[in-house]
């Protein structure tokens, strides 16, 4: 028997594959397309203390091998989320990871506290959204701010916290260490790279927000390098994110040092991406005669 179970901060996932926040809603829309019970976990869209409207449209633009988004974290707020989305997700045999956003530290803490007694397994603290003015990336580009918000949230969180890092920094290792010092239980990386697109025929930006976050296979080499760098700089478990399309990509991240992976943009390209990823990992382990996926983590040389 092959073991694909991995452990993130004490939470055991049946396999290392889950959706990246914001590309899967709370799973409902994907229900007839894939089996949610197959997933290692579901990571929800970012949730704030009150409903957020997000940015004006156009909110997305396709780029070469990738896409830009500036959704701006539209979400129903924690109340509706708990009443509806969490109730929905609890039906499935999968772990629940809630992506938390806020404009201020106290916003974040409000969400984290509301989730304290809920059936949520892990909290993914998004300090890396490039598409909102306050909060988001403001915490994610400065080690001191990252450490502060991490330690403040850690004090109140009943679930282990994953800090989601931004790639838009000079040295990802400094950010990772700051989160580690602040008490993070795990890290996820990367969020999107800041990018833009211009319509030369109108002379205007393709996105109403002017800039957006670049995601998709185009960014995979950057994400993979950051995961590798981070894995060699901190002791925390890492969830690798960025351009993962299939088992081969997922395994690259695992070899680079990730314990688990999130699939984002590829869910739009093919909703079956995550299931294929899981099957492909199993096949790879079998073929190679590797009995435990954990023995692969960080073994690249």
């Amino acid at each position: 028997m092959i073991n694909t179970k991995v452990n993130i901060a004490g939470v055991e996932l049946k396999n290392p594959v889950m959706p990246a926040s914001g590309t899967f809603g709370s799973g409902k829309e994907f229900c007839g397309l894939i089996d949610l019970n197959r997933l290692g976990a579901v990571v929800t869209k970012g949730v704030s203390n009150i409903p957020w409207e997000g940015n004006p449209t156009p909110r997305i633009a396709e780029t070469y091998g990738g896409m830009l988004n500036a959704i701006g974290l539209q979400n129903p707020g924690i109340d509706t989320f708990i009443e509806r989305d969490l109730v929905f997700l609890k039906q499935f045999d999968t772990k629940i990871i809630v992506n938390v956003v806020g404009k201020s530290i106290s916003d974040y803490i409000e969400v984290v506290e509301r989730l304290g007694d809920e059936a949520v397994d892990l909290l993914e603290i998004n300090i890396s959204c490039p598409n909102v003015k306050e909060g988001g990336i403001a915490f994610g580009q400065n080690p001191a701010s990252a450490m502060e918000i991490t330690s403040e949230i850690k004090k109140k969180a009943k679930q282990p916290i994953i800090i989601k890092l931004s790639p838009n920094v000079t040295d990802i290792r400094e950010m990772a260490k700051a989160a580690e010092c602040g008490g993070a239980d795990a890290l996820s990386l990367i969020n999107t790279l800041i990018g833009t697109k211009i319509d030369i025929h109108t002379g205007r930006f393709a996105l109403a927000n002017r800039t957006g976050g670049l995601s998709g296979p185009a960014i995979k080499p950057v994400a993979l390098n950051m995961v590798y760098q981070t894995a060699n700089a901190v002791k925390l478990p890492i969830i690798g994110v960025g351009g993962i399309r299939n088992a081969e990509d997922a395994l690259e991240f695992i070899l680079a040092g990730a314990t688990a992976v999130e699939v984002g943009t590829s869910n739009f390209v093919n909703p079956a991406s995550m299931e294929k990823c899981i099957e492909g990992i199993e096949r790879f382990l079998e073929k190679k005669g590797i009995s435990d996926i954990n023995s692969l983590i960080g073994t690249v040389c």
């Binding site: 997305i60 396709e62 539209q74 296979p217 390209v269 093919n270 909703p271």
Partner: protein, 258 residues
């Protein structure tokens, strides 16, 4: 859930104007569950283009399990689709969105540009269900298309900007000149056209169902890329941003900001 992503067999591909094509394919799910006003998303073969391209369903043949859409070549994706041949497969998801609501009232159908094709299945179903032919007003820049097909199910009035066919002007000119009236108006086309229709029919208290467009990533309501400002709060996030791919693409014109 009624939508599926499938590898579908292409049954025909026809060039109908200099830059507009109709493609038909086989899908039980989409043919049996599809309604006029719903759409499908098509996935490119070329790996540099990731996102699905949405197209309104133009015809449904439930007996043959065949679905068609009509597309204009505007960029890389639609350029790619022109190379697809009958017998090949393409990746499609659908049927998506809400579709028009048909209620047997006296209907006027109005379309402009690439908004015209979806009126075909609508006209057909109106004729089939009510026994009556609706009036369809279609506006073009110059080259007309689909008017013969639309005439099978409805009385068609044409406007062209250059006056080469039908009335010189736009669909509103036709509606005004012909004094067209209706209990419900179904419309799909560019924003200025939709706005003009709203200004015209709004004061007359005529129900106006419009089909909207926005850039999409998931096409199924999960990513919140395709929202539009709505009067009512949306069911998903309880703000005022309805998802065109889910609560739409068809909206009551009073419901959304144009």
């Amino acid at each position: 859930m009624e939508y599926k992503r499938e590898s579908v067999l292409i049954t025909s591909q026809v060039k109908i104007t200099s830059d507009i094509y109709r493609i038909s394919f086989q899908s039980v799910t989409m043919a049996q569950n599809g309604k006029p006003g719903q759409f499908v998303t098509v996935y490119c073969r070329d790996g540099s283009r990731l996102l699905p391209r949405p197209f309104g369903i133009s015809e449904i043949d439930k007996e043959k399990n065949e679905v068609s859409f009509v597309y204009k070549v505007v960029g890389g994706g639609t350029e790619e689709f022109t190379t697809y041949r009958p017998g090949e497969f393409m990746e499609v998801m659908g049927p998506l969105g809400n579709g028009f609501s048909l209620d047997g009232k006296k209907a006027l159908l109005v379309g402009g540009g690439t908004g015209i094709p979806i009126l075909l299945e609508l006209a057909k179903q109106i004729k089939q269900t009510t026994g009556r032919e609706a009036v369809t007003v279609v506006g073009f820049r110059d080259e007309t298309y689909l008017t013969a097909e639309l005439s099978k199910y409805s009385r068609v009035l044409v406007a062209t900007e250059d006056g080469s066919k039908g009335t010189k002007g736009n669909v509103l000119d036709v509606i005004n000149q012909s004094g067209l009236e209706a209990d419900v108006v179904y419309a799909c086309g560019p924003h200025p056209m939709l706005r003009a229709l709203k200004n015209h029919f709004g004061p007359l208290q005529v129900e106006l169902q419009i089909s909207m467009e926005e850039k999409m990533a998931c096409g199924i309501g999960a990513c919140l890329a395709c929202t539009c400002k709505s009067r009512e709060t949306d069911p998903y996030t309880k703000v005022h941003n309805k998802r065109i791919c889910k609560e739409g693409p068809v909206f009551d014109s009073n419901e959304v900001l144009l």
